[in-house]
């Protein structure tokens, strides 16, 4: 990719974000009251903002990469990301808005009148936030590496630093206009190149991709290896090579790779002819081995595929409602009804975006199969425009896509950092006091940044799946039972959060740390939702039944406030519960 264009694209996105942010401030000021206006964001605008914040690097880059590597099964990721909002809409949206809760710990304490539940919910919010931040930083590192050649951990560090400064200075306050703008930017950044990619594909007589056999290079393709790698060739292939192959220095001349194992040195470029099968890197062939081959779904696609798919479905369908940066945005709706309407629009917006994703995965399989070789499958979306279209047009479209990816991780990282820092400042480090919010920004992003540098081989979309699993096992039972069942007690909620959320968190930590590499145990731990969600629900219900005398006295009043339209409950009082909070 031409670096100048890509860097220009990213810079343009950052500048445009700042500009729209400033504009948004000005508009909010000229409308009625600056602060009250923030709680009367119209549903459509708020839906743009929710979608803008929600569509992360995992959606923008990760899913297409997984489709490239593993095929159609990976489309369950975007289906789940969207369906999660339907569950949120049906069971949570309006009551959560009516509760007046700003964060999940707020909701837990208000519903159950228990500081203990609040504290546990806070710890889980931080856990989910960190897990979700990890892949965003990875996506950021990948994008910046492709653009500038800087090492991945460095890119993550740069984004972390930028977001820390922005959030701590209040500059990237999750302004509705910025997030809304970024939704349209992301959609455009996928839609416009997609049109040209489709035309090119048609001109190429629409070859069909295949996932049953190893992919074939459609065109003469140069593959660059930054670090040494051993790969296995099954049939002899004539290539041109610059660099080191099997210890021999080559300088661009033709070379035949015989069937068997070959050692490719660092900084080597091999050019494969059209029609050649893509060789595969050897298992355990050093740190350059493609992450996707080591990931849970592919590990046992035949043996555990169904289990993994259902784990994914459960986690995403039920986990969306517990994502801290999503919950905060519902607070900006004027009332419960607007919260519902916002969510329906979000369903449409996410659908429109995710319709484009399979296209990039399929075209990536056809035209960028070398990413399987270098392990950068997450980069499929970024490299395709330049690959297929070429010339200045390809460069410009490439810059557009890079800008979109930048918008994806900037919006999600800043939103998550805000949420995590808020909870850290208020609940986990209370000795610091609320005024020390800025201090809390540091641990909020430093921990996932450090983890990102240590854990290097986790595909972006998979890590997001883990965050969803923890959320589904803890916050989903808390919200569903808290909103729809009067019998929920504080001890029940504590037990459910600890057993459901705790076990999922443990499983996820073991997976990320590489505790179980393969086999049924690995699958069980990598997709915990199938067992941890029932555990969370069962613990909450059973312990609540056992502690029936501890049902909060205010349960009936709370239920009335959660479910009755604001007009009947004096909603204005609830609405003005936080005159001090600008969103």
């Amino acid at each position: 990719m031409n670096q100048t264009y890509g860097i220009a694209g990213v810079t343009a996105v950052v500048l445009a974000t700042v500009l729209v942010g400033a504009l948004g401030l000005r508009i909010s000021r000229t409308t009625s009251d600056f602060y009250v206006a923030s709680r009367s964001v119209p549903p459509r605008l708020n839906a743009f903002a929710v979608s803008g914040e929600y569509l992360s690097a995992a959606s923008f880059l990760g899913v297409a990469g997984l489709v490239l590597a593993q095929g159609v099964d990976m489309l369950w990721f975007p289906i789940g990301y969207t369906a999660g909002f339907l569950v949120l809409l049906a069971f949570v949206a309006a009551p959560l808005r009516r509760s007046g809760a700003y964060t999940l710990p707020d909701f837990a304490e208000a519903r159950l009148e228990s500081r203990a539940v609040r504290r546990i919910a806070s710890v889980l919010v931080v856990g989910v936030g960190w897990l979700y931040l990890l892949p965003q930083l990875r996506g950021a590192g990948l994008t910046l590496r492709l653009l500038t050649g800087a090492p991945s951990w460095f890119g993550g560090l740069v984004v972390a630093a930028v977001v820390t400064v922005a959030v701590a200075s209040g500059g990237m306050r999750s302004i509705t206009f910025v997030q809304a703008f970024q939704y349209w930017l992301k959609l455009t950044a996928l839609l416009v190149p997609a049109v040209f990619l489709l035309l090119t594909w048609r001109a190429d007589h629409t070859p069909a991709p295949s996932w049953d056999e190893r992919p074939v290079f459609q065109r003469s393709t140069p593959v660059r290896f930054d670090s040494p790698l051993t790969l296995t060739v099954h049939e002899p292939v004539r290539i041109t090579a610059t660099g080191t192959v099997d210890g021999r220095a080559l300088d661009g001349g033709p070379h035949t790779l015989e069937a068997g194992s070959h050692r490719i040195g660092a900084d080597t470029t091999l050019r494969f002819p059209p029609g050649a099968r893509v060789p595969l890197p050897d298992e355990g062939g050093g740190h350059a081995a493609p992450s996707s081959w080591a990931n849970p779904l592919s590990a046992g696609r035949e043996d555990h595929g169904l289990y993994a798919t259902y784990g994914l479905i459960l986690a995403t369908f039920l986990g969306t409602m517990g994502l801290p940066h999503v919950v905060v945005r519902f607070y900006t709706n004027p009332d419960g009804r607007a919260a519902r309407r916002t969510t329906v629009v979000v369903l449409g917006l996410l659908g429109a975006f995710y319709l484009l994703i399979p296209l990039y995965g399929v075209l990536g399989r056809l035209y960028a199969p070398d990413l399987l070789l270098t392990g950068d499958t997450d980069a499929a979306v970024l490299v395709l425009p330049k690959r297929l279209i070429g010339g200045v047009g390809g460069d410009l479209l490439g810059a557009l896509v890079a800008g979109g990816a930048c918008a994806a991780f900037l919006s999600t990282v800043s939103g998550l950092t805000m949420s995590v820092a808020g909870v850290l400042a208020q609940d986990v480090l209370p000795t610091l006091g609320i005024r020390h919010f800025r201090l809390a920004t540091l641990p909020a992003i430093a921990v996932p940044t450090a983890a990102n540098a240590v854990v290097s081989d986790l595909p972006v979309a998979d890590a997001v799946g883990l965050a969803f699993a923890v959320s589904a096992s803890s916050f989903c039972p808390l919200l569903l039972l808290g909103i729809w069942w009067r019998g929920l007690t504080a001890p029940g909620a504590v037990a459910g959060l600890l057993l459901g959320g705790g076990s999922a968190l443990t499983a996820v930590t073991v997976t990320i740390a590489g505790g179980a590499r393969s086999g049924p145990l690995h699958t069980l731990l990598a997709w915990p939702a199938v067992w941890s969600v029932p555990v969370g629900f069962a613990a909450m219900v059973l312990i609540s039944l056992a502690t029936r005398d501890r049902v909060p006295a205010s349960a009936a009043a709370t239920m009335a406030r959660l479910h009755l339209p604001e007009a009947l409950t004096g909603g204005a009082v609830v609405r003005d519960a936080h005159p001090d909070r600008a969103v």
Binding site: L25, R26, T82, A83, I357, Q426, V573, A582
Partner: protein, 112 residues
Amino acid sequence: MGAESVPRREVVTGRPGTDRAGLPRPRPAVPAEEDTAVRILMHRQMRAALTATVLLAASLGLLPVTLRLLPLADTWPSVWLVLGVAPYPALLCAGAWYVRRAERNEGDVTAR
């Protein structure tokens, strides 16, 4: 950002003062009449929510098994349309239906 004249935005993470509950205390008691109304409304809303989600979860939830059992799974591009296109309009329709239903349920309560 930018304009200096804009009032500085404060990062606020909680309510000032001693009450950290973050929410106004609910009214202590609910009249029996209102409580009954709430129960009826909750029941109806629950039914609407379950209709929207269970129908969809059942159809989507059975897809992995169906695709595994049917030879459709290997044909290009039908399976891509089933997983890549079809779910999104269905989700949007289910959501829109639910919102209409839920607002009607609430209208019934308000009208009483």
